[in-house]
Subunit: 261 residues, 3 copies
Amino acid sequence: MSGSTPVITFTTDYGLRDYFVAAMKGVILSLNPDAKLVDISNLIPPQDIFTGAFTLSRAWSYFPSGTVHIAIVDPGVGDAHKGLAVDAGGHFFVAPDNGILTYVLNEHPGFEAYEITAEHYYRKPVSPDFHARDIFSPIAAWISRGVPLIKIGSALQNPFRLQLPGIQKVKDTLIQGQILAVDRFGSLITNLKPDDVPHAYKILAGHREITGIHKTYQEGAPGEVFVVPGSTGYLEIAVKDGSAASVIKIKAGSPIGVVFV
Amino acid sequence: MSGSTPVITFTTDYGLRDYFVAAMKGVILSLNPDAKLVDISNLIPPQDIFTGAFTLSRAWSYFPSGTVHIAIVDPGVGDAHKGLAVDAGGHFFVAPDNGILTYVLNEHPGFEAYEITAEHYYRKPVSPDFHARDIFSPIAAWISRGVPLIKIGSALQNPFRLQLPGIQKVKDTLIQGQILAVDRFGSLITNLKPDDVPHAYKILAGHREITGIHKTYQEGAPGEVFVVPGSTGYLEIAVKDGSAASVIKIKAGSPIGVVFV
Amino acid sequence: MSGSTPVITFTTDYGLRDYFVAAMKGVILSLNPDAKLVDISNLIPPQDIFTGAFTLSRAWSYFPSGTVHIAIVDPGVGDAHKGLAVDAGGHFFVAPDNGILTYVLNEHPGFEAYEITAEHYYRKPVSPDFHARDIFSPIAAWISRGVPLIKIGSALQNPFRLQLPGIQKVKDTLIQGQILAVDRFGSLITNLKPDDVPHAYKILAGHREITGIHKTYQEGAPGEVFVVPGSTGYLEIAVKDGSAASVIKIKAGSPIGVVFV
């Protein structure tokens, strides 16, 4: 960290109305007044670890090396879950061991994970129900000050990971994928990458057959439902200046079919 | 302030959609470019001073000593209210004199309060309807630069305070409390602290009798409505992975009963 | 910029739930770790360039000279629009050439505008659909580090501007204006400035005749619908402690009449 500005990001389901995230930020600034605090999203739906993992995965890598990313969704307060501190490619992560780091770990097989145990870094007394404030925040602050992870806890071999939706080959001309997320504009983000569809294809989604396959969003005609490579790295189903989610009544988790034509 | 990074927090009912909070932040950064700006919440319901006071009270003390907290809800624009600058235990507060600092003042009886009168610090011309931008923001910026409160205005003995909901003893085996707030997860935060219920008890809330009294949120069974000490310092009524507010149809301000059994 | 803290603001329709704005901030901090990032609003309604332009126009001038303002609404991703870098009175703006800077340009006729073409500053590869992250954010970061606009692209004479709603004289005693915006409190912001109504007048809005003309919001009686000079610089239609938008069923874009009496 030496010499650079320490950045700490927040991905939580705490919302923006209550005092939760502010209390975390206060704790962090009390320990590291130089920390630069950036929200990734605090509007992850309550307890939706899958959406938290996806949202974090699409944002963290754009931050400077050395950034500490706090990710708290459904932290299994009390005694259900361990706390994790992870180094993945020079980025640090502080999170409950509940799968919210699944994409990060899958994409960085060389990660180093530690179970947080160094109680002398905790805020005392530790509330049974707000580890984000009393454990994860001070740990993140100390990491941002340069404390090495080896001093935070003990090495952990197999952090918990979510089973991410895969792509299934049904037959030679048909594969099945899934909607990963729906963004603010109603675009449906699939789990298909451009390399997964090397041949001409159409997509079956809800009751629709989507045959418009475009290279850019801008190529869509008004009102047309079409497929386009998204900025997430995945194919997206979109309607230009409109909401694909309103036209096709499907949501995160829904299956889709790809028919090679 | 010398040597440390000045932090300024925001607790307002201005929302996140409009330009209000941004204009305040612009004014502050123009006067103190080093200020670190942190939102506590800008989603206090419009004119809800009580919720503003509660939200601020649960967050401010985690920030570093010397932090300046701006709290603006229903500022009685025009001529209705005085502006306050307060030092409470080394934290500074800038707010209208409408009760939004009630918890702060009650918890720090040794506070020093000043009525803001030093017009040479104001942004000119002062809009009649946006004192937050033209008075409170520049005053906060100057305090964050080290201007002592004595230069901001004249000492004020009795800032206005809200009558906070008390706990009433109805009879030896029954006391009455109140719901202070409902958080994003639908947990109902009561005005009861653990010390208020030294004996075995059950809680009457809405049409429910709540007999599940747990030490941690995690102890709750699926679907169970239970009472648990919250991270706010108050007892909370919660449903694990669910919303107590959806199950028990009560809200902030509703009375609850405690029956000692 | 030398010596001062670089500030970068955000006015977008990207929302607060997804990863869009965070990815932009990550890109910026990777290029300029000293940048201070402030949201003006990320809750501009999707594709609503007019509201984006208005919101930006009410906030940007309060920031320090040298601030870089990023404004992204409906950026016409793909190939539809040019990117702009503008210097208006010592403030910098980075935005698509779609009219979102209309107020800025109208109020600063001496602006200097450049079409962004310096690809060596872009993030590579450039996503066809997220120029905000791959072009506008790095350009803003480099400007905040002091790169002069002349190095960003080629001078552009006539950036696109929206046709802003004007005031029409219908007859000597009647002019027609328009609602520009509705704020969080339900106040209706008109396009009339106090100078536009030098004589005694009443306002026709929806099915209402509004005869209460006040100098400050505070003068309004409980429940009264009245007109008051707002902090935006425009006349506003308001209800004290209530919502004018709920009482008068009109919205941004609706016409209003002014009758001189």
